[in-house]
């Protein structure tokens, strides 16, 4: 994979106040995302994780506060330029009717294209790479409507890959995927962070997968960050109880050595 | 003038107000009207008031006394009383009948197409009736209102049956999407043929254009009286279908899981819609908007329970139709504005309100 010439130096959200036009969902939140690492945002439903991700991705304009990449406010940069820095995989993305897999992935190259440079060799290489990394090379001419939910998810991930941004934001990227593909996608993201210096932020609902793959964990509840830091330091039974309101035992994962969360059931 | 202003504001502002008030309440508080004894009584009173207004107001100025006497103490020599009894009374009945039919049919259409824009016109009723009438005028020289009635009825029925049959093709039967698409095609097709007939012959156009505007004046009441049994049956069946429509509107998978025989219900609902719309269009010609607006207004007052939506539509439909008719009588005195024109004109403020102040699901 090509190394990106644009290294991200900083990625921060400062004093963010976020709402969708009604009551404030997030108030006064400040977060520093470590660059060239994987950060996972976890928390119960409705805690504001997607809202935060959307603000970081430039979709939601903060009522107050700012998001900065390399110390420049993302809203003050020209949109195509910021699109070359920041990419997002939204939850439940909507695909237009009757297009092929390769067609969709190609659209991810938009920020790198212009009226005259419509299909450069870079574009072609990126798309081929994206296809092979997600295992979709044989599917490239299939119609998206014909694919299963999991396959479709991988197509969207491939589109994000083709966009080749140093910062990748993903909202629940493992939905609809079976366990094999979940591991495959997360392994790929880990490789991108380590070997390609990408900064990855993802919202995950599976706590244990988040703990395994993240270098940095951000736990949210009620629009506030309850705790943030390395999973080894941060994941304790007390934290789980504070954030998720369940009792759990913390063991050591026999495979990776990271904390493993075992929730307690009512009957035990 | 005051009356006009009052009635017009009533028609356009009521739904806006109702929706506004309902949305302001806490979500847990439930529909606006939950005491249905109160609600139904109020609706009934509204209907009676509308009837009285319809009898009292019109291009000929009469007094309340005259109107009263016309019904209860008839004096055949009094011109005012003659107008009330011979013209306005039948007109009012027709308005009641057409209004109820359109409103209930509209509620049913919205239920089975699961589309907030559902109106009986989607299923081709108006286009079918128009085509039948124009053909009748063109080829067979039928010009009396009595003659129109049966052509309109069977034209409407024929077109809807065609739409249903087309939608049945392929897997899944008459799904909402296919119904709407088939409706569009049939409407366009029949519309094209109707237009060509109208253009080809001046006299046909001259005759037909009045019917096509939608009106309940001078409509051959005797013939229409024959439709009344059909209307009664349609309305009763419509009300009875309320519970089934509730289940149907939950979606096919859930409905099937609950044991509903979807195809059967759709067909029965379809038949009822055809009976009601066919009658309404036979009586009044193509009147837009009543079938679309009343179910929405009612829904914002009583909530999403179709059993109540249908019943209240039955009462409030005539109020809208007769109200529009009265406005039509008053605004351009001494001539009249057809009720179809008035209802269509009221469409814009209502839909724009829907768009700006509510959350509608995707079309």
């Amino acid at each position: 994979m090509q190394t990106n010439p644009n290294h991200t130096t900083t990625f921060t959200g400062q004093d963010l106040h976020l709402s969708y036009g009604g009551p404030m969902i997030v108030e006064g939140l400040t977060v520093t995302i470590p660059t060239q690492e994987i950060t996972a945002i976890i928390g119960p439903n409705g805690c504001g994780k997607t809202t935060l991700l959307k603000a970081l991705a430039r979709i939601l304009i903060p009522a107050q506060g700012k998001v900065e990449v390399n110390d420049i406010n993302i809203h003050s940069q020209p949109t195509k330029e910021i699109a070359r820095q920041l990419g997002l995989l939204p939850q439940n993305p909507r695909s237009p009717d009757a297009i092929t897999v390769s067609d969709l992935i190609r659209r991810g190259r938009y920020p790198h294209q212009s009226i005259f440079r419509q299909w450069s060799s870079d574009d072609e290489t990126s798309v081929d790479m994206a296809l092979s990394l997600t295992g979709l090379t044989n599917f490239s001419e299939r119609l998206i409507d014909e694919l299963s939910g999991g396959q479709r998810q991988r197509v969207w991930i491939a589109m994000l890959l083709a966009q080749e941004t140093p910062i990748m934001l993903l909202d629940e990227p493992t939905t609809h995927l079976d366990i094999a593909h979940q591991i495959e996608v997360l392994d790929l993201l880990k490789e991108l962070a380590e070997k390609n210096n990408r900064t990855i932020v993802m919202v995950l609902h599976d706590l244990n997968l988040a703990v395994r793959y993240a270098d940095n964990l951000v736990a949210m509840r009620d629009g506030k960050i309850k705790t943030a830091g390395k999973p080894n330091n941060v994941v304790t039974a007390q934290m789980i109880h504070e954030v998720f309101s369940i009792q759990a035992q913390i063991l050591q994962d026999p495979v990776t050595g990271s904390p493993l969360c075992i929730p307690m059931m009512k009957s035990t | 003038m005051i009356t006009i202003a009052l009635i017009f504001s009533a028609i356009t502002i009521t739904p806006i107000l109702a929706g506004f008030l309902s949305s302001r309440r806490e979500k847990e508080a439930g529909p606006f009207i939950s005491n249905h004894v109160f609600g139904l009584t109020f609706s009934l009173i509204l209907v009676v008031v509308t009837i009285l207004i319809s009898l009292r107001f019109g291009s000929l100025q009469i007094t309340w006394g005259t109107a009263w006497n016309a019904i209860f103490d008839y004096d055949p020599t009094n011109q005012g009383q003659i107008v009330v009894r011979e013209l306005r009374l039948p007109r009012t009945f027709l308005g009641l009948a057409a209004g109820s039919c359109l409103a209930v049919a509209g509620a049913l259409t919205q239920g089975i197409t699961r589309n907030p824009l559902g109106a009986p016109g989607i299923l081709g009723v108006n286009a079918g009736a128009a085509f039948a009438i124009v053909t009748a005028i063109y080829a067979a020289d039928i010009v009396t209102p009595e003659g129109y009635v049966w052509f309109a009825f069977f034209g409407a029925a024929g077109a809807s049956i065609l739409v249903y049959s087309i939608a049945q093709f392929g897997n899944g039967g008459a799904t909402p999407v296919k119904l709407v698409l088939a409706g569009v095609v049939v409407t366009a097709l029949l519309g094209g043929w109707t237009t060509s007939l109208l253009i080809l012959d001046l006299e046909t156009l001259d005759e037909a254009r009045f019917w096509l505007a939608g009106s309940i004046a001078s409509r051959g009441t005797d013939e229409i009286a024959l439709l009344f049994p059909i209307i009664i049956i349609g309305l009763l069946l419509g009300v009875a279908l309320g519970k089934q429509i509730n289940i149907l509107s939950l979606g096919e998978d859930i409905a099937k899981a609950l044991g509903q025989r979807i195809a059967l219900i759709r067909i029965v609902a379809g038949i009822v819609i055809i009976l009601l719309c066919g009658s309404a269009v036979a009586i009044a010609g193509p009147v837009a908007f009543v079938g679309l607006a009343i179910p929405h207004m009612v829904r914002s007052l009583v909530g999403p329970d179709y059993r109540w939506i249908i019943i209240y539509s039955l009462f409030l439909g005539p109020c809208l139709l007769l109200g529009a008719d009265v406005i039509g009588r008053l605004v351009v005195r001494p001539t009249e504005l057809q009720v179809g024109i008035v209802t269509a004109a009221a469409g814009a403020p209502f839909l724009i309100y829907l768009v700006r102040f509510t959350k509608l699901s995707d079309v």
Partner: protein, 376 residues
Amino acid sequence: MHYLAITTPTLQRSLTVLVGIFLTIFLIRLADHIQPRQYTFRWQNISSRIQLRVVWLSLGATIVIIVLTGIGLIVGDYPIPASEAIATALWERNGEYDFIINSLRFPRIVVAILAGMCFASSGLIFQSLINNPLVSPDIIGINSGAAVLAVAILAAGGSTEHLPWAAFLGALLTAALIYLLSWKKGISATRLVLVGIGINSVLGAIITFITIKYPIERVVAAARWQAGTLFGASWDDARTLAIGLLILLPSAFFLTTRLKILQLGDETAITIGSKIERDRLALLAVASLLAALAVSVVGPLGFVALIVPQAARLLVGSITGGVLIFTALLGGFFLLGADLIAQRLFAPVMLPAGVITATFGGPYFLYLLARYNRAN
């Protein structure tokens, strides 16, 4: 005393139409066999991707249009030998058939092609933007807006000279009104459609009112205009359409990339670097102008804008610049064909082309539906 003034079409003509229909279906099947293949064009920093299948089909459509033009010049109420017809159209200026060919038939053919191109491309943009097979420019009131002013002028007895301008103005004002009313921090498809329906309803009421109020002789002219017809098409009309297309079609062509991004949904589009409201407005403006242009010249010919993009999509897939061109050509072919049928089928009576588009468009649309349903 009425009798059926339409004589039934002669056997010969009916056969001709049927043959034409079968030929079209055969050609469509043939087109299915052309494999999709890409060709990338690169020169220094300039690069572009071309789908060969679209190129072949566009070429085919152009040839068909030329053939139909020839037929249109030759065939008609007044018999003209073929060679003379073509010669008069192309180079001979003072031949004996000059009036018929160059003032009646030729301009009508050209206007049909150009108007069809406008309608089809407009419809393609709307359907791609709003992702609903039922959407066409009618939705946002282009037709009823144009009709209101046109009908008002015709009924009031005004001259037909100003008709195209009035119609154009009416169409654009209505479109602008609908946009403004549905703007709520941006334009959503649903809101646009709903407001469109509301405004259409009101305008329809006004038109009905006019139809009733005025004497029947004037109303007939208005009714005829409303059906959409190419009768009386002139070189001025052709010129107007050509200029409009020259400006708008290339604009649309360059906007197709942005359209493709908008199709991904608002969130994805923003993160990919699209300025969604600006792009959406630009596309809607171009599409509305195309439709308004066509309606002002030929009247509200529905259905072309609805059907042709669907047909094109079945043949060449989802929108690209090349697909836009092909759709436009297909629209030109469709309207020209419909007009020729409308003139000849029930000769000597001339039907408005709008009737033919509805009559054939309807069943064809159902055929498309059936294919779509079977594929799912």
